[in-house]
Symmetry: C2
Subunit: 161 residues, 2 copies
């Protein structure tokens, strides 16, 4: 398997077995490459009372799409750290009446270098990411999130996602 | 049954059958009274890879706790409107390593009157709510959310939650 295939298999286990809500959402990784990640989610398990996508399901999908990228970076670098989300701003832009996708792009290399450098020097690295949800190629929700990697053995002040 | 018991039964159906993710989260309404609503969630189905509560599950629980109050108000007033979440800011404050609760308080009566008045006059009413998650009586996550009620038959520009 290519590196991306191996990573996709590993990440699928994390997102759908270690995080059971990912399985309840029937989340699948449909793209993992040098530009970023895409998750696909069927409407059925993620529907709301209005027959459109539940905002919490879209929030969860974006949180996971964003989280996946620094998680993979830590794995590639062999770094033992927890990766958590601290604060974020969500926007819901349009109703979603069919299957949808959550995407996140890799940030620029300088941001990744700074993230790893902070983590190595101070035991805590921060990375801002902007995942989004699309439906029929239209952006229907967006997230601006700050993720933090915490070297194991240090006291976290935020540890979710 | 008292009004609150009848409402609790109706709302349980909405939150766990019309919104299947609520059932996957094993959400239960533990309090519904004149001061607000509390939902309880077991850690098990809402856990993440670190053995703590998944941020998306806490976000979903807060979105639903907040949404429930204006939804009940619309039901009490016999108003046929969709109720959606437009934008919100999430904060994750502490790791959650056991069952947790999501709460939302009723806002002041003047805000509710304005919400219903806007909806009646313009077909769209807005209400700001601040749900929170607690674990062992400590606030561990918070949400500031704007909800919008849209009279049916009007074109929404946001329709999620």
């Amino acid at each position: 398997m290519s590196n991306h295939d191996t990573e996709r298999s590993w990440l699928t286990t994390v997102l759908t077995r270690d995080i059971p809500l990912g399985q309840a959402m029937a989340l699948e990784i449909t793209r993992l490459d040098a530009s970023g990640i895409s998750l696909s989610l069927p409407l059925g398990p993620n529907i709301n009372d209005k027959g459109t996508a539940f905002g919490g399901a879209m929030a969860s999908a974006m949180i996971l799409a964003g989280w996946s990228l620094p998680r993979l970076l830590l794995r590639r670098e062999g770094i033992d750290a927890d990766l958590v989300i601290g604060r974020c701003e969500l926007r819901f832009l349009s109703p979603v009446d069919q299957d949808f996708q959550a995407h996140c792009d890799w940030p620029d290399p300088a941001s990744l270098t700074l993230f790893l450098d902070q983590l190595g020097r101070r035991g805590r690295g921060r990375l801002d990411l902007a995942p989004r949800v699309t439906c029929a190629d239209k952006i229907v929700a967006s997230l601006e999130a700050r993720y933090a990697a915490l070297a194991r053995g240090r006291l976290p002040d935020a540890e979710n996602a």
